[in-house]
Amino acid sequence: MSAILQLEHLKKHYATQKAVDDISFSIEQGSIFGLLGPNGAGKTTLLRMITGIFYPDSGSILFDGRPFHPEEDIIRIGYMPEERGLYKKMKIGEHALYLAQLKGLSRSEAMEKIRFWFKRLEMESWWNKKVEDLSKGMSQKLQFVTTVLHEPKLIILDEPFSGLDPVNANLIKDEIYGLAQRGSTIIFSTHRMEQVEEICDHIVLVNLGKKILDGTVGNIKQQFKENKFSIKLSELPAVIQSESFTVEERKDHELIVKISPNHRSNDVLQHFLQQQIIIESFHEILPSLNEIFIGLVEGTSATTRAFQQPS
């Protein structure tokens, strides 16, 4: 598979801080990519460079193998920013039409696609309603539609589920999968780790403007595993002494153990087998992305969200 987006040594400095400091990564076509980081890590600045709102101070962006030209490539990108809104006094149908035309669609094309998406997400009856009459969840749905309407190759969603109830969140999630299957690439920016684990194939973690993690969700978990296992036994012996592992936690029938260096999981099993204790279950505990995230970010002085002006 080829990369739809390649960032090479991107840098963007504001007056007082380096918002994006030498970040490189690439995103495969058709993948769901997670861009993670605490508040103020530089995610939004990075996304604004990818969408052509900001120009990088240095470094290059390759879009679909060619240098990125915001003017022409903008129609192939759909961006739903975290700070998003709509014109309150406009009618919903007209609003969708307006945004689609600004993306470069002709009026008739835009109408056709809006009808398709409104039908799909059961929004047909909204056409003549005013935006100000929509609930927060409803306007989120409208914003999602206007982002993907023009069938962009690259879809960038910044916190797409905030404000959505579980039913609508699932609806949108299914649409995201569907879009990815039909060949769109999705960049998903969030600090909600459980969503990332569920949806993303590949993630990049940024903090203080630097990339600190890059890989698939599975690989990263392997990389950060602490050799912890959970073991359930029919009865717990009073004293557990072994040089192959240490007990981290004990509940009534369950132990959390950490395997010592140069030992393997089988050594744990062997220890209990020798004692004739019945093993009910045994499995590895992989760290959640949340734990990895907190472990990496904690202690660094993540700056506040305040936007800094470009210098």
Binding site: R48, T51, G52, I53, Y55, I74, I77, Y79, M80, P81, E83, R84, G85, L86, Y87, K88, K89, M90, Y98, L99, Q101, L102, K103, G104, Q143, T146, R305, A306, F307, Q309, P310
Partner: protein, 444 residues
């Protein structure tokens, strides 16, 4: 380019389709007429009745002080400042004895404070009475003087302005009216539409739609689209007003009796002077209508209307982008907008003050310079143009003024666009003028 058109279309239609637009467009002139009618009515009707007891030391004013509908002079015995209210008088006028020609003070004491017009009327009556006395002393009757004054009114001053080979008749009062009216109109609309641009930008920012928009269009396109769209709304409003006025004037023509119109036409034929002994003599109404029409025809309307549209648009574009820049840096708090607007509203108000002066003295150096500098030229030049081109305003002045206004708004738009671009995506931070200046003059 196409995208700017889509933005202009939305900005324009969303405002013009609004019922409030139609309502304010029609109601504003009506309210203004009502205001003037009301003000005039109250000025006439608002007078109080005064019954004044006159205590005259000279014994001369009795019979010479003329009563008016609201002011009644009486000369009762044994009335003084202590008892005039009990005797049913509202005021008491104390006239001391004359001593030669030196200045003396008349004193009027009253129950309630006397209004300005009443005070002037009383003062005038006293002056007239003194004048009468002096005339009588010199052997002239008042009635004689009045009839001489009336007969002497045959001379009328017509002023002509040099225009190349011919001289164009001009009318100072009309020029003043046009100059002040159009300057005032530009002043008001600059505030109305400038504030509309600012509110529009603030709405985009507080609604958080700005970032959605700039992911599809350039910030510059968004700003320019809004400014042009709202400017078109302003032009539409003027057009509707012109149609309204022309329509009302046409309707008024039907109210004038046919024979009066005939007389007016005859007057026109003879240039205002119907030869004595002619078939038709013009009545007072026809004379007045002819005078108004004749006076109006002395102004160069195509030039004035053309310049008005140019200076309205130029002035609007010059200031609208500045208003847009301010709107883009304001956060939720409208009070920030107030203080940030100050440096923009000050030159507008200052230009208005210069304009009110220039409309009386269109030739002074300050008026000339202010009509060339783009900060003030839209208002001040309109005040001067009414007095005639190329008489009062030389062609070179007009051309330099227009060019510098075009240059000026290109400059403000360019600088504002840079502020706007940064400001519109910035939340939660108060921006100072110093920072805005830094953004405006930043390279790239």
């Amino acid at each position: 380019m196409n995208k700017i058109l889509i933005i202009i279309q939305r900005e324009y239609l969303s405002r013009v389709k609004n019922k409030r637009f139609l309502l304010t467009t029609i109601l504003t002139p009506l309210l203004m007429v009502l205001f003037f009618v009301g003000a005039t009515y109250f000025a006439i009707q608002g007078k109080e009745d005064h019954k004044i007891a006159v205590v005259d030391q000279n014994g001369f004013f009795k019979g010479n002080l003329e009563n008016t509908t609201h002011i009644l002079f009486e000369f009762p015995e044994a009335v003084d400042t202590t008892n005039y209210i009990q005797k049913g008088y509202t005021d008491i006028l104390l006239i001391p004895e004359f001593k030669g020609t030196e200045k003396i003070n008349y004193i009027i004491r009253s129950k309630k404070r006397i209004g300005l017009t009443t005070e002037e009327a009383i003062s005038r009556k006293i002056d007239e009475a003194i004048e009468d006395k002096m005339l009588q002393d010199a052997g002239i009757q008042r009635a004689q003087l009045d009839s001489i004054r009336e007969k002497s009114q045959f001379a009328e001053l017509k002023s002509l302005e040099e225009q190349g080979d011919t001289a164009q008749e001009s009318n100072a009062a009309l020029s003043y009216g046009i100059g002040f009216g159009s300057g005032m109109l530009i002043y008001i609309t600059m505030f109305i539409y400038g504030a509309m641009v600012m509110r529009g930008v603030m709405e985009e920012k507080t609604n958080r739609i700005a970032e959605v928009m700039v992911s599809s269009v350039k910030p510059f396109q968004l700003m320019l689209g809004k400014i042009i769209g709202i400017g078109a709304v302003g032009l539409t409003q003027f057009l509707m007003w012109i149609i309204l006025v022309v329509g009302l004037m046409a309707a008024a023509q039907f109210l004038i009796p046919h024979e009066v119109l005939d007389q007016v036409n005859t007057l026109k034929q003879y240039n205002g002077q119907i030869p004595a002994g002619g078939m038709m003599q013009a009545g007072d109404t026809a004379q007045n209508i002819y005078k108004i029409q004749h006076t109006m025809s002395t102004a160069n309307w195509p030039l004035i209307i053309g310049c008005f549209i140019f200076y309205f648009l130029g002035g609007y574009l010059f200031y609208a982008s500045l208003f847009a820049a301010v709107g883009s840096v304001v956060n939720e708090d409208p009070q920030d907008a107030q203080s940030l607007m100050m440096p923009i509203t000050m030159p507008i108000i200052f230009s208005f003050i210069i304009m009110t002066n220039a409309v009386q003295n269109p030739g002074t150096p300050i008026a000339t310079w202010a009509s060339i500098i783009p900060f003030s030229s839209p208002m001040v030049m309109m005040a001067r143009i009414a007095y005639g081109v190329p008489g009062t305003v030389a062609y070179w002045e007009l051309i330099v003024s227009m060019l510098s206004l075009v240059g000026g708004f290109l400059l403000t738009t360019w600088l504002s666009a840079k502020i706007y671009r940064t400001g519109i995506l910035m939340y939660g931070k108060k921006v100072s003028w110093k920072e805005m200046g830094k953004w405006a003059f930043r390279k790239n």
